[in-house]
């Protein structure tokens, strides 16, 4: 374990680690474009300059190993001068089109420019023109002019995804990133190249131009796309969620995540969500009501039903705490053991692509199995089918999936379950198949994984806790709340009637709806 001194602080690092890794340990700031902790060392960007005592010249930190007693400094004038000139060379052909660039606000080059930029370039030659808006594949757009040729993306396709689509072509200042002849950058990890791009050269087609980075807040959560349970950051603002990026967790996903997982923000947004509970009786049309009221109404039906005609269908898309709550309610309060596990793609369950993606597209299969085992439940889907056919099961509560994309059998299962006399369907998203249901149906909006605290247990049995990010549909229930309400217990949530205009947090003494309508100008100003 060599010891070294970085900016006057003594640090002990692992054998064979480089200076830049030592600086990550000691917490010293150092700029780096080509170096990435998850990739090999290239040493091409030349901005991570440090001064080592006894060494006449500044050296790059990423490709120099720490030796015993090394004295390193990256705050001296000599280093600053080297960094400044290195940056100026990077900017020779960089268009500095930050206003159009999507990376602005989270760009390494921009940050560095604000700190070390010369602000007055000494380059008199015109800038080298390169290709703009190059379509690299189904997910990514390249802007060669912005590229600083750090080769992170090239190394990513070589080392991590092992698909080798990208390369650097031409020489000198005409060098450009590109795909090999006839190839497209089309693999399931391609969007990681956008994350690791230190400038705005690679941009995601999905996120491109939709929001500026500074309008977004981020929060960490667990991806619910598959049973790997990657640690992710979701980016959102009051208009909804916009993108998902991976965060580092050595045990689970390292630095990466798959492209499929980056779509998990979509079903969370308001336009795909069930905003109000929909209730209908046999032959009548849908009525809208609040989730709490609908759950209360459903509780009456459950109360009247016999214990052996009551069934619960669970999908592995909820947290452990929620499963525990609803299964306990069924076993203890309703005295029913008819709890069934809706498995979406059994044949693909054990698939694994060797990096991250797993065939089990539920985040919490292990968690559900654990809870079912704890309560000694062994019911199979065939029993449910038989029970529905014979009419023994009359009332079914379904905790339906959040991520409907990974449930190809959704419509079929809805059809099968609609044989039940009373169907209490708990779901977060809208679905066409549900609108066609006939019979007594209570369609109750649920919260998604970003709107609640909980725990997911991933494929290897690792428990990962996640925290609530924000609220999208304020009225929606968690499965725990739904379990309480269905059991006839009270819950301290704000239940509002369907037509109330005022938001929940408004005081009663504020201007009433009727009074606001009279003052038409104020009332309608926003949408005339």
């Amino acid at each position: 374990m060599p010891k070294c001194t970085i900016n006057g602080k003594e640090v002990e690092v692992k054998e064979g680690s480089s200076i830049i890794e030592a600086m990550q340990v000691s917490g010293d700031r150092i700029a780096h474009y080509c170096w990435h902790p998850g990739l090999s060392v290239a040493g091409v960007c030349r901005v991570c300059m440090v001064e080592i005592e006894g060494n006449p010249r500044v050296q790059i930190a990423c490709n120099t190993a720490v030796t015993e007693g090394m004295k390193i400094n990256n705050t001296s004038d000599k280093v600053k001068d080297a960094v400044k000139w290195g940056l100026d060379f990077h900017l020779i052909n960089h268009p500095l089109d930050c206003p159009i660039c999507d990376q602005a606000g989270e760009c390494g080059l921009q940050d560095q420019y604000m700190e070390y930029g010369k602000y007055d370039p000494e380059m008199a030659e015109p800038k080298q023109k390169k290709h703009k808006v190059v379509d690299l594949g189904p997910t990514i757009v390249l802007d060669s002019e912005r590229c600083i040729l750090c080769s992170r993306c090239v190394r990513f396709t070589e080392e991590v995804s092992k698909t080798n689509e990208l390369g650097i072509f031409n020489r000198g200042d005409r060098s450009e990133i590109g795909t090999h002849d006839g190839m497209k950058l089309d693999n399931n990890y391609s969007l990681n190249t956008v994350d690791i791009c230190p400038v705005g050269a690679l941009t995601s087609k999905d996120f491109r131009f939709r929001q500026r980075a500074w309008y977004l807040k981020d929060a960490e959560t667990i991806c619910n796309g598959c049973s790997t349970g990657c640690n992710v950051k979701v980016y959102f603002n009051k208009e909804g969620f916009f993108r998902v990026k991976p965060t580092f967790n050595e045990q689970v996903n390292g630095h990466w995540m798959c492209d499929e997982g980056r779509n998990v923000y979509k079903f969370v947004n308001k336009e795909h969500r069930l905003l109000k509970a929909q209730v209908k009786g046999q032959g009548s049309s849908w009525t809208e009501m609040s989730a709490g009221a609908a759950a209360k109404a459903a509780a009456e039906v459950i109360k009247a039903a016999a214990a052996d005609s009551l069934a619960l269908v669970l999908t592995a898309q909820y947290s452990v705490e929620e499963f525990e709550a609803i299964v306990t309610t069924f076993v203890k309060d309703f005295k029913s053991n008819k709890i069934y596990f809706w498995i979406n793609n059994k044949e693909a369950f054990d698939n694994f692509d060797g990096l991250l993606v797993r065939g089990d597209k539920n985040p919490n299969t292990k968690g559900l199995l654990k809870v079912l085992e704890k309560h000694g439940i062994t019911a199979t889907w065939n029993e449910l089918s038989r029970g529905l056919k014979s009419g023994a099961i009359k009332t079914v509560v379904v905790a339906a999936p959040e991520n409907q994309v990974v449930f190809p059998d959704f419509a079929d299962r809805v059809k099968e379950l609609s044989q039940a006399q009373n169907l209490i369907w708990l779901q977060s998203g809208q679905n066409e198949a549900l609108k066609k249901l006939d019979g007594n149906v209570w369609l109750i909006p649920m919260k998604t994984f970003v709107e609640k605290d909980g725990t997911f247990i991933n494929h290897s049995g690792l428990e990962q806790k996640f925290k609530k990010v924000t609220l999208v549909v304020s009225e929606a229930l968690t499965l725990t709340e739904a379990a309480l309400l269905l059991a006839g217990k009270n819950l301290n949530i704000h239940a509002t009637s369907a037509n109330e205009f005022l938001p929940l947090n408004q005081r009663l003494d504020q201007v009433a709806v009727e009074a606001r309508k009279k003052n038409e100008f104020v009332f309608k100003r926003g949408n005339l």
């Binding site: 159009i100 015109p126 703009k132 131009f209 939709r210 309008y215 100003r525 005339l528």
Partner: protein, 174 residues
């Protein structure tokens, strides 16, 4: 509420006060009749006061020589706006040299405080505060100005062009 009433003897002699007032009015009448150029007032709807060219009135979006918007939808004006009255939706342009452009640009003029921060934030001189300031309207009118109003208003005769154009800038290698 109590009303103070001056019931003194002196207050009953109001005539000197009235005559004094009339004297001042008459003085101004004669002065204005003899020297109409230096009159303090304007016949408002017919005559209008000309403000300095730096006056900050309603916004104008400038256009390029071909008539397209200069705005690149960078959202710096919207970010800088203290009244949060600017809403921009960006979109991808067919021309790769333009790349990003605003598919909608709206200013809620009732929220605007005419501070001119948008003008200062703009890196491409796409938004300016123009000379126009009299924009009264009725209850039902549209106070949210969109691109068509901001850039191609009829009395601007095809919009305001900035003096530096992109092609010239490219020639200079900027």
């Amino acid at each position: 509420m109590s009303v103070m009433q001056n019931n003194s003897e002196k207050a009953k002699w109001y005539l000197p006060g009235i005559l004094g007032g009339l004297w001042i009015t008459g003085k101004h009448l004669v002065k204005n009749l003899l020297n109409r150029n230096k009159m303090m007032t304007l016949n408002y709807p017919e005559e209008k006061y000309e403000y300095s060219p730096r006056f900050k009135g309603n916004h104008v979006l400038t256009v390029k020589k071909d008539g397209s918007l200069r705005c690149t939808a960078c959202m710096l004006c919207a970010t800088n706006c203290p009244a949060e009255c600017i809403t921009i939706t960006a979109a991808e342009h067919n021309n790769p040299e333009v790349e990003k452009f605003p598919i909608s640009y709206e200013i809620d003029i009732l929220r605007c405080v005419f501070c001119g921060f948008c003008e200062e934030a703009c890196p491409v001189d796409a938004i300016r505060l123009g000379p126009e300031w009299q924009t009264p309207a009725l209850n039902g009118s549209n106070f949210i100005y969109d691109i068509n109003h901001l850039a191609f208003r009829p009395n601007l005769k095809g919009g305001i062009q900035t003096h530096v154009d992109d092609e010239e800038r490219h020639k200079q290698g900027i």
